[in-house]
Amino acid sequence: MSDSPIAVEQHGPELRHHFVDAEQQRDAASLGMWLFLATEIMFFGGMFLAYLIYRYAYYNEFAAGSRSIDIWLGTINTAVLICSSLTVALGVRAAQMGKRRLLVTLLLITIVLGLVFLGIKGVEWYQKFEEHHVPGTSFNASDLEKPPYSHGEIDQRHEQIYFSLYFAMTGLHALHMIIGVGIFIFLTYYAWKGRYSPKYYTPVEIGGLYWHFVDIVWIYLFPLLYLIDRKPLR
């Protein structure tokens, strides 16, 4: 399209020229991210469906498996993620208000919190590895406590399904966290370089949307995996 001096309004270098104006670009980016998150819901949804079906069928094993994972680490992780969503939301606001240093600080804290989450997750996985609760040839969940009020033995095969889903769901979630941390590293770098301003902070906003989504997935995973049956054992 030839340069038409009349039509060019003031815009920064971030306006991509297939867009008519910055507003169109922003709207497109926002809609794009929301649609992408919808696909992510469908993606995790398949696994949630498998989880629901097997939990109904093998409740005892799911309850026993749930009791065997560390509720304190899980709770800490939940708090960590919720805090990180707070820092993200504050960061978007900082960008809106043009506060560069605050933005960079908040983004960095978010990254740190994300890494803390991943670290704790790693510790939990290692615990499971040591207890031989990792599905596969060396799986052995005979050490799981069977509460006195429950009915019947723990079936090892059904228990393995709980742990398969545990690792698949938390693993996929962790992968999304890693990608999120990567995105935020980029955002921090560009924020530090001064690329974002009240007129243009779309990447921060849509990066924040992604982070919130990953957080929400965890909010569902936590009760489903950790809180199945925490009644005190008599």
């Binding site: 009915h151 019947g152 033995e153 079936d155």
Partner: protein, 328 residues
């Protein structure tokens, strides 16, 4: 009609005629629809081909037409649905007094066992005019039991029983195909169903030196495996009394009520801890890995034999005497 038409499969069961009737109706309907559309297109293409000076007439549409050609097809579709559903319901509801054949599928063969004890591989002999119910499971992957002449097909799954039934109407030999892809020799997992006159069938049955009926071999397994120690027919056993159990509701410890069918019995043997009847302790050993599919079918047949046979029959001329149930 169409009986000796080389492009039409033989009808050899009571259900085949119903399936063919709907199929022919659909053929006629489709033929009519295609003819209508093709003729219309042909007429329009000829009549309205581009000619100099003649312009197309811009017609926006017609809501009346749209509604008509939506509602009428929908109505016809509902008729087809209902017709097909009735046939399917009939296909999936075996008559209560059907004689039973147990089928175990494995890569790449069919193993069949009659109640009376006869065993067959890749072959099934049945008498004309008798309701036959197939109770099937797989030892490995999913297969599918398909007899085109009977118009029946049912996937055969590992880990559970599925059923199919038919009543053969004409003597002959018919194809049996595996119709769910199952690996290398999927196309070799074929056999034949031989339908015989009842007298010939009895002769065939008594011809083979069999090891007794299926239920009888289940009985001896029941003793061998120690089941009878806990499952006694008095109230003293540590396990529930199995006499009269099959086909009736069972109240479980966890509050559920289930019907004791073939899948229930099988699950109790393989994973007893999943179905503890109320009032009993979870002490039954797990038999997963300790019994083969054939042994399982024998045990299931035995336990079924401990219940009175279903009252009466549903149509179905049964020319052979009803199987005897061993006394407890």
């Amino acid at each position: 009609m169409f009986d000796n038409f080389p492009l039409w499969p033989i009808r050899a069961s009571t259900g085949a005629g119903n399936v063919d009737a709907l199929f022919i109706f659909l053929l006629a309907l489709s033929g009519l629809m295609c003819a209508a559309i093709f003729v219309m297109i042909l007429v329009f293409a000829t009549k309205y081909r581009r000619r100099r000076g003649v312009e197309a007439e811009q017609i926006e549409g017609s809501s009346a037409l749209e509604i008509t050609w939506s509602v009428i097809p929908l109505g016809i579709f509902m008729v087809i649905f209902a017709w097909g559903a009735v046939i399917y319901f009939h296909e999936r509801t075996p008559p209560r007094a059907a004689s039973e054949v147990y089928v175990v599928a494995k890569q790449w063969m069919w193993k069949l066992q009659h109640q009376e004890g006869a065993r067959e591989i890749n072959e099934l002999h049945v008498p004309v005019g008798r309701d036959v119910k197939l109770i099937m499971t797989s030892q490995d992957v999913i297969h599918s039991f398909y007899v085109p002449a009977f118009r029946i097909k049912q996937d055969v799954l590992p880990g559970r029983y599925t059923t199919a039934w038919f009543r053969a109407t004409r003597p002959g030999v018919y194809h049996l195909f595996c119709s769910q892809y199952c690996g290398t020799m999927h196309s070799g997992m074929i056999g034949q169903v031989t339908v015989m006159e009842p007298a010939q069938y009895e002769a065939w049955l008594s011809g083979g030196g069999t090891a007794g009926s299926l239920a009888a071999s289940g009985d001896s397994l029941f003793q061998q495996l120690g089941c009878s120690t806990c499952h006694r027919s008095d109230a003293q056993g540590r396990g529930p009394n199995l006499v009269g159990l099959f086909g009736h509701p069972v109240h479980l410890e966890d509050g559920r009520t289930v019907t004791a069918d073939e899948n229930y019995i099988r699950q109790c043997i393989l994973s007893p801890h999943t179905n503890i009847p109320s009032g009993f302790k979870p002490i039954m050993p797990i038999f997963q890995g300790l019994v083969s599919e054939e042994q399982l079918t024998a045990l299931v047949a035995y336990i079924k034999s401990l219940s009175p046979p279903p009252a009466g029959g549903q149509g179905g001329v049964s020319l052979a005497p009803k199987p005897q149930y061993p006394k407890e």
